[in-house]
Structures are given as C-alpha cells and as structure tokens.
Symmetry: C2
Subunit: 190 residues, 2 copies
Amino acid sequence: MARSRLTPERESELYAAVLDLLGEVGYEALTMDAVAARTRSSKATLYRQWGSKAELVVKALRNDKPVHLGDVDTGSLRGDFLAVVTRTDDCQMEKNSALLRGLSHAVHDNPDLFQALRDLLIEPEMTGLGSMLQRAVDRGEVRPDNPALPYVPHMMIGAFAARELVDCQPVDQAFLTDYVDSVVFPALGI
Amino acid sequence: MARSRLTPERESELYAAVLDLLGEVGYEALTMDAVAARTRSSKATLYRQWGSKAELVVKALRNDKPVHLGDVDTGSLRGDFLAVVTRTDDCQMEKNSALLRGLSHAVHDNPDLFQALRDLLIEPEMTGLGSMLQRAVDRGEVRPDNPALPYVPHMMIGAFAARELVDCQPVDQAFLTDYVDSVVFPALGI
C-alpha cells in the first residue's frame, strides 16, 4: 500500500491522461514513460503510487466509471438497475466499450492485466451487484431461493457481449432497459 | 462457389488437420503452406476449395461441431436445449472454448476472419436457434409476444462469456443445463 502523495484532482488528471493514451495507442504501446511525459510527472511517482502499468490502467478505468454498483440504492431493484443504466450516457458507454474491446485483446497476452481487471474491476462490481440483489431479497422483491439469482452477472455480461456479436450494434440505454425488463426481471420472478 | 473435388472423408481429414494446427500455432501463424504440407495437398487445391484462410478455418470449426442447432427437433424446447447441451461432451466443449478464445484474439486484427465467423458460424446458428424457438411458439410452449424471445442468444452467449470471466470455470453440461432451467426457461415463461 503506497501512501497517497497526490491530491484527488491530480489523480483524476492522471487517470484521464492514461485513458486518453490508452485510446490513442492501445495497451501494448502504452508505456510508463509515455504516461510520465504526458502528465509531467516522474516515472518513480507513477510506480510508487500504482506499482504496475496494469494496476494504473485498471484504476484509471475504475475511476472513469460514473456509477459503481455498490453505491446505488434507490429502494427497488428496478430503480437500482435503471439508475445504473441511465447514469451512464450512450456516448460514455460507446467509449467504454471501445476501451474494453481494446483491453480484452491485451488481456490474452498479459496475465497481470487480467488479474488487475479481476481484482480491481470485476470483483468489486460483482460484490456491488451481490449487495443490490441481497437488498431486493431482504425487501421481499426476489425469493431468496430463486435459482436465477447467481446468474444475474451472466445475463448482464451476455447483453454486452451479444449486442455487438449478434446484433452488430452498440449497447445503449434503451437496449439495456428493455433487456433488464424482458430477461432479468422475468427470470428473477419480478 | 468452387465445385467440390474432395470426398467428404478427405474434407473431414483436412478440417481436422486445420484445427490441430490452429491449436498448435494459433491463427496468425497458421499459413496455407503449413496446411498444404500437413495434409499433403497443394496450396492451389486449398485456395480453389476455400478461397481464403479465414473461410477454411471457420468451415473447419463448423465441421467440427457435433450438433448444429438447425438439426435439432425433439418435440419440446427443453428437449431441444438438452439435446444440444448433452451431445457436446465436456472435453469437446473445453477444446472448443480454447479454440474460440484463440480466435477471438485473432478476430481483432482480421476483419475477414470476423466476417467469415459471422457468415458461416454465427448467422447459421442464430437461424437454427430462431427455428427452434419458432417451433416452441407454434407448439404453444412460448407466447409469440414473449419479450425475452429476441434475447435468447444474448442469454446463451452470456453463459459462455461470464463462466470464465466471473466464475473462472470452464463451461460444462451441468452448468449449461442449470443455466437454461434457471434463466432461459423462466424468462420465456416456461
């Protein structure tokens, strides 16, 4: 755990620069040197703060997400899903998809990128989704033994993966809202 | 459309060799020269028959699938899904996943591989799945206006994509059967 020597504003600035570079040159060609040059910081600072390129990139992605599933609590499961879907605008969603497409390519050759994605992005979001669903169970919206409960991540990931592969269209708010209403809620018995 | 000059046995032999090579060296390093050498055929024959490396690889994958969705018709939707799931044994499923992982990597750099995958593998399977679902509607198992109907591909692709990403486990018959019973059928109102 490196002690933070950066202000939150400076950290956000750095993350934004990393994402810009990532979009411009891709993960392979993104070097700590390039990040240091672009952000006028020293490589030593970058390594002290983040340890590795993989960690820096994934933390930048995580910082860029406008909504974390764990932070959402509207009082109903439908409200929670809609909050997540509608707080990310379509343009941002398109940008995220492009970045993730680029990263999914890089993941094949970089086990530490995969590990960082799992630890810093996928696991926390799965935990957040788990809490969201648990609250729905506690409120009596979903039966605790509903067999579809463990599969909500699979349904949601399928929406993103198949939208491009099958429909050849980008994911947007209208599609995700319809998908949640047509698939996720009926499967959960809501 | 090249006229077929190969017996079905010879064609299967060629496809098997292509898949072996694909597993050994990956899509990038797989050359028509290597296929010609391995199968003791001429490059001219390969190009006459398949036109391109992308087409040859995708046709080999398609030939290797033990079940095509369009061929399945057991008289009930659950029977159809189970037939698809259980006719592919777990070992074959693991092998297919490894091949598709390798290919999903190559797809990023090869638009013609992506096009061939869409035209020769994804589209026909989507058409087959569509017929399977239409028969369920015709039999009265699923209401024709069920909003989850267009999303069955998304649910199924999610099962495969999320199994490795979230669960870090390979897809097998037990998982797929449970997923279909827990997610797909309830969403379809069965």
